[in-house]
């Protein structure tokens, strides 16, 4: 496999072969995290900046640990500490950062296309750490990695994605990756949270959670954003929980070896019950663990070799 990309902007850009190559590379890196000395010198002398315009603990920490385990230097810039509050434009911020010669910039931004804009003007590798409702490619890759690990395959699975599909970059990236491997994807949520034309991506839509999860191999829960409650998309989070909260009865009607995924952070008792989140089918903590390995692989492939 000849890896040629400078940036990782979205799953939709990637071929199946590229995704598999990232997963295979991640397998090698996963072992490092299990050792006593969780560090290799691979990216010694490289600098990785995480530039986060939206609050995130999980993704930022995961990238930071991934970079550190590869011996790269990491600098974290979050919106509260950056110049963005002083009105500096994203492009100016990025150009200033580039002057400090980082090798990679991981960006999370509330607006779709922000990473693409940076990729167009910077020499550094740009990694999309989530851009608005567009994509979150490393999340989809770690989900794919976890599915392969737990199910032994990533094709021909029945995967149900539950929640606010319309505003979820996790859902989009996962739909792109899962469909390119030929999985059966069912999107489940209230119609106000299902974007129009979603069926053109080859997914099925089911409003009834009970029906959707029947015989499912994978159930992927999305975080419900509490601010979308009230008059906008759903009457209340309480009602959402009644209709779309995942409970034991759902897990029981799914395939025997179903796995339950969640990109975190979870709203326990709203989209997922404690019983399910902590139950034997839950692979939520595996996802977090695999996230580090996948991000190590991505960093390694983007900035490990000669540009």
């Amino acid at each position: 496999m000849n890896w040629k990309r400078k940036d990782l902007l979205g799953i939709r850009d990637l071929s199946k072969e590229e995704m598999l190559f990232i997963l295979d590379t991640a397998e090698s890196f996963k072992d490092i995290s299990k050792r006593e000395i969780k560090k290799v010198p691979t990216l010694r002398g490289k600098t990785v900046i995480t530039l986060f315009y939206e609050p995130s603990t999980r993704t930022r920490t995961s990238f930071e640990i991934a970079a550190k385990r590869l011996s790269a230097d990491t600098i974290n810039i979050s919106s509260s500490t950056s110049s963005s509050t002083k009105g500096e434009s994203l492009k100016d911020t990025a150009r200033n950062l580039e002057s400090m010669r980082p090798d990679a910039i991981v960006i999370r931004h509330g607006m779709p296309g922000a990473p693409h804009m940076l990729a167009g003007i910077l020499d550094s590798s740009i990694i999309n750490g989530g851009d608005g409702a567009h994509e979150h490619p490393t999340q989809a890759l770690l989900d794919l990695f976890t599915m392969r690990d737990k199910k032994g395959r990533i094709d021909g699975l029945k995967v149900v994605i539950v929640g606010d599909i319309a505003h979820s970059r996790v859902a989009r990236s996962n739909i792109f990756s899962l469909k390119s491997f030929g999985n059966d994807v069912i999107c489940c949520g209230p119609p106000t949270m299902i974007p129009p034309h979603i069926e053109t991506l080859g997914v099925k839509v089911e409003y009834d959670l009970k029906r959707a999860v029947r015989k499912a191999d994978v159930i992927m829960m999305l975080r419900i954003q509490k601010e979308r409650g009230g008059t906008t998309y759903i009457p209340s989070t309480k009602e959402y929980s009644t209709l779309y909260g995942l409970g034991r009865e759902h897990v029981e009607s799914a395939a025997d070896d179903v796995i339950i995924m969640h990109p975190g952070p979870m709203n326990r008792g709203i989209e997922i019950s404690d019983e399910v989140a902590d139950g034997p089918s839950s692979v939520i903590l595996d996802q977090v663990e695999n996230g580090v390995a996948v991000r190590m692989a991505v960093l390694y492939l983007l900035i490990g070799g000669e540009a």
């Binding site: 779709p112 804009m117 851009d131 129009p196």
Partner: protein, 425 residues
């Protein structure tokens, strides 16, 4: 001084002329149009238009010249220079300036400035409501006296149907056309067309019905008060259908679309190029097809530019934050000539929508090359290939999604009131 435009193929849709004619201009007016004008004075300037098209100067019913208030985006001088390069000799500038053109003094400022610095004719469009706020009518009569040719709250719709009704009724006094921008703000709010492309890009969508609902509403109000209504920059299949149906029983409805709505689809937004951000947004292929069909069948009467120049920095940001608009004067003719090559319109039909029909809407004695008419004339080559280079635009607005594309058809000569203002022949 006289000018003879010799040897060209004259296409004058108003007079149903398409053939080889010479045009003699004397001072500000057309003196003679005939098959061959041999006898000329010694000092008559001869313009060789052989192998070119000679046509009435184009009339744009919808543009933004940005003055007063946004001179960093465009001025009357730069805007009209761009217009004449593109083949326009008369343009109607919208009221969303700063201050808004909702009073006599602002209209007078624009008229005076255009007289002093304008390269082509500038006709101001007044605001329907004060400050474009949809709260109370602006002083339409005062503005009319100062020179407005239409009223519009372009950039948004008149929010309350009741207020629109009053505007339509009141405008009858002055026979002023009311131009409607159709957008339901409770349904819009995004920045690209809501469709498959917005699903892929994650950008917030503006559904087609945001336009269609208001198109339907405004038509219903106009019909009820029996007032003429012009719907501008129509972009969806649904709007075309609504207008087509309305026109069958109510003849006072007219509409226009813009070159980008029959040239580009929402797929263009997938690169996050902010120059593709425009309101109404670039629509789906089905919409583009319906717009073309609407042009062919005559449902759409006029092609306007919606020339909306912006400074670089307002487009050099995240897509969500970028301003809406395309700098359109200098590409409009070439893009529209695409309709002729696609066999949707013949050349006469196309020019009808860019000369005679706009003149009719505005009640102007223009858009025609007849003896005694104002000598607003262009000469263009319908097949000349050229590559769009935004840096070479005369407009201050370099915001074009067509940068780098090779287009066919180029205006080479523009005459306004007998004065040559642009000549690349």
């Amino acid at each position: 001084m006289k000018t003879l435009i010799r040897g060209g193929r004259l296409v004058d849709p108003k007079n149903s002329i398409d053939g080889r004619y010479d045009v003699l201009v004397d001072g500000p007016v057309v003196k003679e149009v005939s098959k061959s004008i041999r006898k000329v004075d010694d000092d008559t300037r001869i313009i060789d238009a052989s192998k070119r098209i000679v046509a009435p100067g184009l009339i744009d019913v919808h543009c933004h010249l940005r003055e007063p208030g946004f001179e960093y985006k465009e001025t009357i001088r730069t805007g009209t220079t761009a217009a004449t390069r593109g083949g326009f000799t008369t343009v109607v500038c919208m009221a969303n300036t700063n201050p808004v053109n909702d009073s006599r003094s602002v209209t007078e400022f624009i008229v005076d400035k255009a007289r002093a610095e304008g390269v082509c004719k500038v006709l101001p469009c007044g605001a329907v409501t004060r400050g474009l706020r949809s709260e109370e009518l602006s002083e339409i009569g005062e503005m009319f006296e100062a020179g407005i040719v239409a009223i519009s709250d372009d950039g948004r719709s008149v929010r309350a149907a009741g207020l629109l009704r009053k505007a339509l009724e009141y405008a009858k006094i002055f026979k002023l056309p009311v131009i409607s921008h159709c957008e339901d703000e409770t349904l819009s709010g995004g920045c690209v067309h809501e469709g498959r492309a917005s699903l892929l890009s994650g950008l917030d969508g503006i559904p087609a019905i945001a336009e269609e609902l208001i198109a339907g509403r405004d038509i219903a109000v106009a019909r009820y008060v029996d007032a003429p209504l012009h719907l501008t920059h129509i972009s969806t299949a649904g709007s075309v259908e609504i207008i087509e149906r309305a026109k069958r029983t109510f003849r006072k409805i007219t509409c226009d679309t813009c070159p980008h709505y029959f040239t580009l689809t929402d797929e263009a937004t997938l690169t996050y190029d902010t120059n593709t951000k425009v309101n109404p947004p670039l629509r789906s292929q089905d919409d583009v097809n319906a717009i073309k069909e609407g042009l062919r069948k005559g449902t759409i009467d006029i092609i306007a530019t919606d020339h909306a120049p912006h400074e670089f920095t307002s487009k050099d940001v995240e897509f969500d934050l970028a301003t809406f608009g395309i700098s359109g004067f200098e590409t409009a003719l070439a893009l529209s000539l695409g309709l002729v090559r696609e066999d949707i319109l013949d050349l006469k039909g196309l020019l009808m929508k860019m000369t005679a029909n706009p003149a009719k809407l505005l009640g102007l004695e223009a858009g025609v090359i007849s003896e005694g008419a104002p000598a607003d004339i262009i000469v263009f080559d319908p097949d000349m290939e050229w590559t769009v280079d935004r840096k070479s635009f005369a407009s201050k607005g370099k915001n074009t999604p067509f940068h780098g594309m090779t287009l066919r058809g180029r205006n080479l000569f523009t005459m306004v009131d007998g004065k040559i203002v642009y000549n690349e022949l």
